[in-house]
C-alpha cells in the first residue's frame, strides 16, 4: 500500500496542534490573505511559522491555502506573500489559480503546489494540463465516484487528494455565485453566505409546488466515507482530506483520531467490523450535521440533502476543554450542558479514559453547581481518572 496522508484542517494554532497530536500527517490552514474561509480566524505569518516549526518537529507537514479566486484588487503583495511562505518553509500551498501556481515556480519557491478542489478537476487529461503548468498534486472534485477516483489515481501523472469528511458544497466548487447575487458576498473570496442552505418556494407556471412546512432547499448533508476508505487506499489516493477550517478543536480531534485509527487498522490488516462500528459511532457523536457518503457510490438522492423536516437528528457529546489539572481537580472550559450525576469520559490523543460519574462541580467562586449550561464559562470538576491539559471531556453516550 502507498503511504497514506491524513490531512486535517485548522482555523488557528491551537486547532493545528490538536490536529497533529491526534494523528494528522499534515494540516492545512489559511493565511490572512488570499485564502477562502474569511471567518476561520486565519493565521498571520508568525502563526504560520510556529505551526510549520511545530509540524516539522513532529516530522509532519503544513499546507497553506492560497485558494481565493482573486479579483484585480486582491492581487497586491502576492509575490511577497509567496516568498514569505517559502521562508517559513511551509510544505505546500493550495491554489485555485494557475497564475499563482506558475508564479510560485517563477519565484523558485521550494514548496509543492496543490490544485484546490475549487477548480473541480474531474479527469486525468485536465490533470495533465495542470501538471505541465507546474502543479504537483490535485485535490479532486467532490462529485467523483469511486470508479472515477480509481481510474484517475491510476492513470494520472500527479498524486491525488480526496475529501473524505466534512461539509460539502451542493454545487460544483468554485462555480457557484448564489452568495454573490443574494448577499454581495463572494463565495470564491471567502464570503459564502451558504445561500444553498436557505429555504425557497418552488413554483411551476406560478403554481406553488413546495410545502410551507417543508420548503425547497439545496443544502447538503456532510460527507462521511469510513466505509470507502479501504477502496480509496486501493485506488491509489495518497491524501485523505478532512474539511472544516471553521470547526472546533474537539471536532478536529475526534474526526482525525477516528480516521487515523481506521486507516492504521486497514494498513496493518487488523481492521474489524467491530472497530469500524466503534469508529462510526465516534464520527456520529462529533457531527454538527447529518452525514452521507457523497458521490462515491451514487449520485445523491433526497437522502443526501438537509431538509427542514428531518427525522434524524445529530447527537453531540462534547462537554468542554481541560485547561489545567491539579490533584484530580480540573478547570474545564464549558461548551455544552453538563449535570452532576452524568457519566463522562476523557478524550485525549493517546486514549479514551474509563468513564466516571460527575460528582463534584464548582464555579469560579467555589460554589457547587448541580448543572451548567453557559458556553465558555470555567468550572472545576473532580476527575478521578488520568487527565491532562488539552484533553477533552465528553458525555459517555450509550449509542
Amino acid at each position: 500500500m502507498n503511504k497514506i496522508e491524513l490531512l486535517a484542517p485548522a482555523g488557528d494554532l491551537t486547532r493545528a496542534k490538536v490536529a497533529y497530536l491526534y494523528g494528522a500527517d499534515a494540516v492545512y490552514v489559511g493565511g490572512k490573505r488570499f485564502s477562502l474561509r474569511a471567518r476561520a480566524s486565519n493565521f498571520d505569518l508568525a502563526d504560520l511559522k510556529e505551526a510549520a516549526d511545530f509540524a516539522h518537529n513532529l516530522g509532519k507537514k503544513l499546507f497553506v491555502t492560497v485558494n481565493m479566486i482573486a479579483h484585480e484588487e486582491d492581487m497586491v503583495q502576492l509575490e511577497e506573500y509567496l516568498l514569505d511562505l517559502d521562508r517559513i518553509k511551509v510544505d505546500a500551498i493550495i491554489v485555485a489559480s494557475l497564475y499563482i501556481a506558475q508564479l510560485a515556480r517563477t519565484l523558485k519557491c521550494t514548496y509543492e503546489v496543490h490544485l484546490s478542489t475549487q477548480l473541480s478537476v474531474t479527469n486525468s487529461a485536465t490533470i495533465a494540463y495542470y501538471r505541465s503548468h507546474g502543479v504537483d498534486r490535485i485535490v479532486l472534485a467532490r462529485e467523483l465516484d469511486l470508479d472515477s477516483i480509481a481510474k484517475i489515481s491510476k492513470t494520472s501523472q500527479l498524486p491525488t487528494e480526496v475529501f473524505i469528511h466534512g461539509g460539502m458544497c451542493t454545487n460544483f466548487s468554485g462555480r457557484c455565485t448564489l452568495s454573490n447575487d443574494m448577499t454581495l458576498r463572494d463565495a470564491n473570496r471567502g464570503g459564502c453566505a451558504q445561500s444553498c442552505r436557505w429555504t425557497y418556494e418552488l413554483t411551476k407556471e406560478n403554481e406553488i409546488i413546495s410545502l410551507a412546512d417543508n420548503p425547497f432547499t439545496m443544502g447538503s448533508k456532510d460527507l462521511e466515507t469510513l466505509d470507502d476508505i479501504e477502496d480509496m487506499i486501493k485506488a491509489g489516493v495518497i491524501s485523505f482530506k478532512i474539511e472544516g477550517r471553521m470547526k472546533s478543536a474537539y471536532y478536529i480531534a475526534v474526526i482525525v483520531k477516528t480516521y487515523r485509527t481506521w486507516i492504521e487498522a486497514l494498513v496493518s490488516q487488523s481492521a474489524t467490523e467491530s472497530l469500524k462500528q466503534q469508529c462510526k459511532r465516534e464520527l456520529r457523536l462529533a457531527e454538527n450535521r447529518l452525514t452521507f457518503g457523497g458521490f462515491l457510490r451514487s449520485i445523491p438522492d433526497k437522502n443526501g440533502q438537509v431538509y427542514v423536516t428531518q427525522e434524524d437528528s445529530v447527537v453531540q457529546n462534547f462537554i468542554g476543554n481541560v485547561l489545567s489539572v491539579v490533584d484530580q481537580e480540573a478547570i474545564i472550559e464549558i461548551r455544552n450542558k453538563v449535570s452532576l450525576g452524568q457519566t463522562l469520559e476523557v478524550f485525549s490523543p493517546k486514549r479514551i479514559s474509563e468513564s466516571f460519574v460527575l460528582s463534584v462541580m464548582r464555579d469560579e467562586a467555589g460554589q457547587t453547581l448541580p448543572m451548567i449550561n453557559i458556553p465558555l464559562s470555567r468550572i472545576t470538576m473532580l476527575i478521578p481518572v488520568d487527565v491532562h491539559p488539552g484533553d477533552f471531556i465528553r458525555r459517555k453516550d450509550d449509542l
Partner: protein, 294 residues
C-alpha cells in the same frame, strides 16, 4: 465587437442570421444548458442548418468531463472537427488537451463560467488558448480593465439570465420525491425558486446530469456597449434561455443595432416598454462583502 448568440432551437436560426452575429451551439452529449436540443440528431440538424446558411458557427462543450467520458469525447470531437466550424468553447481543459492532441487549428476559447477574474489569470490561460470568456461576477470597471489589457482576446456574457450555480445533484427531483409530488423535471424551463424573504423568482433547470439556478434578472448591457467596444472586448454573448421567442428576438435585434450604432433614445424606449426583467448584473455591484461588512 462581435455578438455571439447561443442557439438551442432550430427556429432561432432565422432570428440570429446576420453577418455580424456568430452562433454557438451547445453539443448535447457532454454539456448542460441545452433543454431544447437533447439528441445528437437534433444537434446535427441545427449545426448543418447554421452552416448551410453560412453563419459563423461555434460549438460549446461546457460540461465537467469525467474520466470515463474521455474515451468517447475524443472521437466525438474528431467528428465535430470534420465540419467547417469556427471553433470550440469549453469549460473543462480536457477538451483543450484533446483538441491539441488532434491537431485542431480552429479557435479555442476557454469559458469556465467563473475563475477568470483578473488580468493575471487571463494572461496565464491566454498562453494556451485563443480567447477567454471571463467571469460573470465582475464589475464593469473590472471587465474594462481586463478587456483593455487583452484587446480582442476577451469575451463576456452580455445578455440573458445569469447562471448562478451548477450542481451534479438532481435537486428538483430530490425535493419532489421528498414531498411525494413526482412530476416531469427533465429539461423543463418553467420551474422557479423564490427565496422566502425575497420577491425574485429565479429560473431553475434540471437536465440529465446537472441542476442550475439562474438570476431572475436578464442582464442588460445596452448602455455599456460603447465602453466595451472602446476597450476592444472581442464579443458579448446573448443567451435566450428562459426568454420567450418574441421578446428574445426584439431584445437581440436591439443589442445588435446598438453595437452598430449607439442610440440612447431607442434604448430608453425599449427599457420603458419591455416586460423583460432587465438588470445590470454585477456591472455596478461589487461582491466583496464579508459577513462582518454586511
Amino acid at each position: 465587437m462581435r455578438l455571439f448568440a447561443h442557439i438551442d432551437d432550430i427556429d432561432q436560426i432565422s432570428v440570429f442570421s446576420n453577418p455580424n452575429v456568430d452562433v454557438i451551439i451547445t453539443e448535447p452529449v457532454y454539456s448542460y444548458k441545452h433543454p431544447h436540443l437533447q439528441t445528437k440528431a437534433e444537434f446535427w440538424k441545427v449545426l448543418k442548418s447554421c452552416l448551410k446558411q453560412q453563419l459563423p458557427t461555434y460549438i460549446e462543450i461546457n460540461g465537467f468531463i469525467e474520466e470515463n467520458q474521455l474515451e468517447g469525447l475524443k472521437p466525438w470531437i474528431k467528428d465535430l472537427m470534420d465540419y467547417p466550424i469556427q471553433g470550440f468553447y469549453f469549460a473543462d481543459l480536457s477538451v483543450l488537451m484533446l483538441l491539441n492532441e488532434l491537431g485542431y487549428q480552429g479557435e479555442k476559447i476557454f469559458a469556465p463560467e467563473t475563475i477568470l477574474t483578473n488580468t493575471f489569470e487571463v494572461r496565464t490561460y491566454l498562453e494556451s488558448v485563443d480567447r477567454v470568456m471571463i467571469s460573470k461576477e465582475l464589475t464593469l470597471e473590472e471587465i474594462l480593465v481586463i478587456c483593455s489589457a487583452f484587446p480582442n482576446k476577451v469575451e463576456i456574457f452580455g445578455a440573458g439570465h445569469l447562471q448562478m450555480s451548477v450542481s451534479k445533484r438532481p435537486l428538483l427531483s430530490n425535493y419532489l420525491s421528498l414531498i411525494q409530488k413526482e412530476q416531469p423535471t427533465l429539461n423543463q424551463t418553467n420551474y422557479r425558486l423564490r427565496e422566502m424573504k425575497r420577491q425574485e423568482k429565479m429560473p431553475i433547470l434540471e437536465e440529465a446530469n446537472t441542476f442550475c439556478v439562474f438570476t431572475q434578472g436578464i442582464l442588460n448591457p445596452l448602455e455599456e456597449l460603447p465602453q466595451l467596444q472602446e476597450t476592444q472586448c472581442f464579443g458579448i454573448h446573448f443567451d435566450p434561455l428562459f426568454i420567450n421567442k418574441e421578446d428574445a428576438k426584439e431584445y437581440f435585434e436591439l443589442i445588435l443595432n446598438q453595437i452598430k450604432s449607439h442610440d440612447s433614445k431607442k434604448i430608453e424606449a425599449f427599457t420603458h416598454k419591455t416586460s423583460l426583467p432587465l438588470f445590470k448584473g454585477y456591472f455596478y455591484r461589487k461582491t466583496n462583502l464579508s459577513k462582518e461588512k454586511v
